[in-house]
């Protein structure tokens, strides 16, 4: 895949060992401008760890990570335990580490669809509202790279579809790169440019349609899971012709190295 711009962030032969246990092994991954890369895999596959290593929250034990100079990153972590002990409004949550004008706050919350909740208490938000607040929080930093760890968790099915639509719109409107983690296989976003199946190492990667047809994917998640992804991506095919041109799903597929 030839790119003129260097990747926003890329990892080469990334490895992480804790004691003798290998958590990540020889992971290569990169995210470019306007690109959505989705990492999927079973529980314990090291998806969140990979994200944290790439963000510099956990030190890696081999390989290297390269970030574009002065890269602005917006991060939505997997777990956001809202302690009722901390009195916190949405407004305050958004400005914890980043100063923003009232107008910026209003506009960003409107972008994620919860402008009316600016003065709500964070502890009172529903799962979907909290995800939208965290997303707004990340967007407020005008990120070039958005890192979303399980952005649709604790959200009902209808909410999932709407959140994925929102994420897709953010990419279109802002042109930022998005690195996303997901474990719900039936909902891997068809808008992803690349899907990476992780299970400690990269099992397979490529365009969504290609990955879902790969034997490695079936081996990992079973043929049923593959069929479910197929349903979602066909349903939304009309949205994605432009991406299909950019990355032909079949030519783009490459199986991961075998272990």
């Amino acid at each position: 895949m030839l790119k003129i711009n260097p990747a926003l962030i890329s990892a080469h032969a990334l490895g992480l060992k804790i004691g003798t246990r290998s958590i990540l092994d020889n992971v290569n991954i990169s995210v470019h401008d306007r690109e959505i890369v989705t990492v999927i895999g079973p529980n314990g596959a090291g998806k969140s760890t990979l994200i944290k290593v790439m963000l510099g929250l956990i030190p890696h034990t081999s390989g290297h990570i390269h970030k574009r100079d002065d890269l602005r990153v917006g991060y939505v972590p997997q777990r956001f335990p809202v302690s009722p002990n901390v009195p916190l409004s949405v407004r305050r949550l958004l400005t914890l580490t980043h100063k923003a004008s009232e107008l910026e706050l209003q506009q960003t919350l409107a972008e994620t669809g919860i402008a009316h909740l600016i003065n709500a208490r964070v502890a009172d938000l529903s799962g979907g509202e909290l995800q939208r607040a965290l997303l707004a929080r990340a967007l407020l930093r005008q990120p070039q790279l958005l890192v979303l760890d399980e952005p649709v968790q604790a959200v009902d099915f209808d909410g999932e579809l709407k959140l994925y639509e929102l994420i897709s719109n953010i990419r279109k409107a802002r042109g930022c790169g998005i690195l996303m983690v997901s474990h719900d296989l039936h909902m891997v976003m068809a808008d992803s440019d690349r899907v990476i199946c992780l299970n400690g190492h990269i099992c397979c990667e490529g365009a969504p349609i290609a990955v879902q047809k790969s034997p490695e994917f079936s081996k990992m998640f079973g043929p049923k899971a593959a069929a479910m992804i197929a349903g979602y991506s066909h349903h939304h095919d009309h949205d994605h012709e432009s991406h299909a041109h950019a990355h032909s799903p079949f030519s783009d597929f490459k199986p991961g190295h075998k272990h």
Binding site: I18, K52, L55, G56, L57, V73, Y75, P77, F80, S83, N85, V86, P87, L88, S89, R92, L93, L96, T97, H98, R121, R141
Partner: protein, 267 residues
């Protein structure tokens, strides 16, 4: 009931010392509540006892001994938190009670009996000297300055540590400064309420304040107000009814907490 006691110099000194500790116990208590660090506070207090023992052993100031021991235990915990063999609360249990046992043994060996040192357990605010009061207030102002300086970062870490780190907060540094501050407060508060009740003096006013405030700043202010009322109320109770001062202060805080439960929540 003898009201003349209230204008005695020793009572004024006790009041000033109690208020000095209360104004730092307020905000420190908020962070303990926000970050669920009550058990950690207990561990620091137990380390303080070890410090007292070591202070007696080497014939240096027991407050200095307590501050140093609490800081060393805090640093040890910070270092051990990174390992993943033993869960943090188990680790706290081990360190906390090892320090307690070592402290009791040292005091026993040095003085022959631990019972002569009940003031360490329950506080001795009625015997503070003028110098103690001055030391406490200098310490209190220094602690408040540090907390004010780190305020935004501390709040961000309390809400979500990884997120704060990803967004450029220097978490290890802020954590280190905060733990040292907390250790120092613990050692000073030992003189006022005794090590058994230090955590109570920090946690209870903050818990009461939670029900009054909808921003972190307001909660800290309410926490200071409640801690000060508890200090004054406890000392009055002690002066008027002859109760032991430290536990009386804590009991006053508990009463305040119960009163805040009566406040309807705007849920």
């Amino acid at each position: 009931m003898n009201l003349a006691i209230l204008s005695e110099p020793f009572f004024i000194r006790a009041l000033l010392a109690g208020l000095g500790v209360a104004i730092v116990a307020g905000p420190i208590g908020c962070f303990i509540v926000w970050r669920r660090m009550a058990y950690f506070g207990e561990t620091l207090a137990h380390a303080g006892l070890l410090g007292v023992g070591v202070g007696l052993l080497f014939n240096i100031s027991i407050t200095l001994g307590a501050v140093v021991a609490a800081i060393l235990i805090a640093l040890l915990l910070l270092a051990l938190k990174r390992q993943q063999q033993v869960a943090t609360d188990t680790l706290l249990g081990i360190l906390s009670h090892t320090a307690l046992a070592l402290g009791i043994i040292t005091i026993g060996l040095v003085t022959g009996a631990v019972t002569g040192h009940l003031d360490i357990l329950f506080g001795d605010v009625l015997t503070v000297s003028k110098n103690d009061v001055i030391t406490i207030w200098i310490g209190a102002i220094a602690v408040l300055a540090v907390i004010a300086y780190l305020w935004r970062d501390l709040i961000a870490i309390s809400v979500h540590e990884d997120l704060a780190r990803a967004e450029g907060v220097n978490v290890p540094w802020v954590e280190l400064v905060f733990l040292i501050t907390m250790a120092a407060v613990t050692a000073f508060a030992m003189k006022i309420v005794g090590l058994l009740l230090i955590t109570a003096l920090t946690v209870i006013p903050a818990a009461a304040a939670r029900r009054m405030a909808d921003t972190p700043e307001l909660m800290a202010v309410w926490s200071i107000i409640f801690a000060c009322i508890a200090a004054i109320g406890g000392l009055l109770m002690s002066a008027l009814y002859g109760t032991i001062a430290g536990p009386s202060i804590v009991l006053s805080a508990s009463l305040l907490f119960v009163l805040t439960l009566l406040k309807p929540q705007s849920n």
